[in-house]
């Protein structure tokens, strides 16, 4: 009886080990291959461009902006999100294949920022679930890079645990 239990637990352990190895490998791959969608919603885009540019270079982390929604993994909401744009953001979010993650950059998608009393601005988390918030108006490039590193950690952890 006790032997049976131990052997079955061994087997599950072995399976579990393989599963763990598989998941950690996949998680590692995801960590270094987060492709943000090539999509700009608002006015933080020049700073985002500087992050993609030579001094800060987002591609060091394997982040390569993708032209289409079908190939992207990360929805990056860059700057103010208006009602009209929010519809499109939701549409694109639904077009992206699973698993997918999202980042909100700037004060406006987090809490409407300087347009707090505008009738046409909405918060990002009213539209799609947000994984990482990066505050600032616009955020400094270092802040953005730290946000992306946080996202990397979160993605790796999520995939290690299994989605």
């Amino acid at each position: 009886m006790s032997e049976n239990v131990s052997s079955s637990s061994k087997r599950t352990n072995f399976l579990g080990l393989i599963k763990r190895i598989y998941r950690s490998v996949i998680g590692w791959g995801w960590k270094y291959s987060l492709w943000p969608i090539h999509f700009v919603t608002g006015c933080c885009c020049p700073e985002f461009m500087q992050v993609a540019g030579p001094r800060y270079d987002m591609e060091r982390f394997g982040m390569l902006p993708m032209a289409g929604a079908r190939q992207a993994d990360v929805m990056v909401i860059i700057g103010v999100l208006t009602r009209k744009m929010a519809k499109r953001v939701k549409m694109l979010w639904e077009q992206m294949p699973e698993p997918k993650f999202s980042v909100a950059i700037g004060a406006c998608p987090i809490g409407k920022g300087p347009f707090y009393d505008s009738y046409s601005v909405v918060r990002a988390d009213e539209i799609i679930p947000i994984d990482v918030y990066i505050p600032g108006c616009p955020p400094r490039p270092e802040t953005m890079l730290q946000g992306f590193m946080l996202l990397q950690k979160k993605v790796q952890k999520k995939l290690m645990e299994g989605i």
């Binding site: 490998v25 996949i26 590692w28 791959g29 995801w30 960590k31 270094y32 291959s33 540019g53 030579p54 270079d57 591609e59 060091r60 982390f61 394997g62 390569l64 032209a67 289409g68 079908r70 190939q71 993994d73 077009q95 294949p97 699973e98 698993p99």
Partner: protein, 351 residues
């Protein structure tokens, strides 16, 4: 009555024969599995994508991938591969499902099959094609541009349709000069067999008598393999990803791989036709290894040049590219044929 000895003897003979058979089988499979075959293709794709990203990044004063794999981001492609394997595949609801799946699977297979005709060493060819390696290669590779057309139509998206139509225009404009300049080489070598063509270049590489043909062929390669400045069918700034727009997950990866596999196939043909194929002085001891090494060296240099072009050239417009194809490349290729005939008739000592 057989004695035990005889039985054992015949058995050993049989086993020996079997072993030899298996060994030969393995040896004949080796090209498929290793050098111009699967392993080589996959390695080429991984290395070239990594190299291209790194090279482009440095041209833009950036670093490119750094952190995946610690040193120069050399594991970047593996990470991308692992990620894209686990991505969801989305098929648009209005798409023609069979064709939608078929096109990206067919495309790398077609280009991969064509590589089978390329000799990497005098007797190291997967399939010699009954002495008609060159026309067979061209015939099989010409199936390739059909796939974008299928894919673009099947995905049922306006951008994919535009992209696939552009791909079709481009391949017509590029393939005729390619065929013509290859014909010039066949005349020079007096054979359609790729091994014979390589052997005919022992005195002189065909790039010297067939310089015009080489130029046309090189530009044709850029157009066929959708490289800058002719990457019109996947022009990101105009039509998102062209005919690839709707593909996600592993299907997208297959289309990306297919681009590089077709580049590899055309480059190998270019090396075989113009750059003396596996010919070269023996440098690594055994002639076999040095043959393969020469192919790899030539391939590396050619690939580096093609990637370099991407950093210095913007993209042509469709009508300009087609104009180049019809107005300049085809006359040049025809001139090349005449030059080849003249050389064959009056200067036979050259080849």
């Amino acid at each position: 009555m057989y004695t035990l000895n005889e039985i054992i003897g015949s058995l050993t003979k049989f086993i020996g024969n079997l072993w030899q058979f298996i060994f030969q089988m393995c040896m004949s499979l080796a090209p498929v599995l290793f050098i111009p075959g699967l392993t080589f293709i996959l390695l080429f794709v991984t290395v070239v994508i990594w190299f291209e990203r790194k090279y482009l990044a440095h041209a833009m004063l950036r670093m490119g991938p750094v952190y995946a794999g610690r040193v120069f981001g050399w594991l970047q492609c593996i990470a991308d591969f692992l990620k894209i394997l686990t991505k969801e595949i989305i098929v648009p609801s209005d798409a023609d499902k069979t064709l939608y799946y078929l096109a990206p699977i067919l495309l790398p297979i077609v280009d991969g099959l064509a590589i089978a005709f390329i000799p990497v060493a005098p007797d190291w060819v997967i399939f010699r094609g009954f002495g008609y390696g060159l026309p067979l290669f061209l015939a099989i590779v010409s199936l390739g541009p059909l796939c974008p057309l299928i894919a673009g139509w099947a995905a049922n998206n306006k951008y994919t349709v535009i992209g696939s139509l552009r791909a079709a225009y481009m391949c017509i404009a590029a393939e005729i000069p390619l065929l013509l300049s290859a014909a010039g080489i066949a005349i020079l070598a007096g054979s359609f067999d790729l091994v014979d063509i390589v052997e005919a270049q022992s005195k002189m590489w065909f790039i010297i008598p067939g310089f015009l043909g080489a130029l046309v062929f090189f530009i044709g390669i850029l157009a066929e393999a959708e490289r800058t400045p002719f990457d019109i069918s996947v022009a990101e700034q105009e039509i998102v990803f062209g005919w690839r727009t709707e593909y996600s997950g592993i299907l997208f990866m297959l289309t990306m791989m297919a681009e590089y596999i077709s580049l590899l196939a055309w480059e190998l043909l270019f090396i075989t036709l113009f750059l003396g194929g596996y010919k070269g002085p023996v440098i690594f001891g055994s002639p076999f290894i040095s043959n393969i090494a020469w192919v790899l060296i030539k391939l590396g240099i050619l690939t580096a040049i093609i990637i370099l072009l991407r950093t210095v050239f913007p993209r042509f417009r469709l009508d300009q590219a087609i104009k180049i194809g019809w107005r300049y490349l085809i006359p040049l290729a025809i001139a090349n044929i005449y030059i080849a005939i003249i050389i064959k008739l009056f200067f036979p000592f050259v080849v």
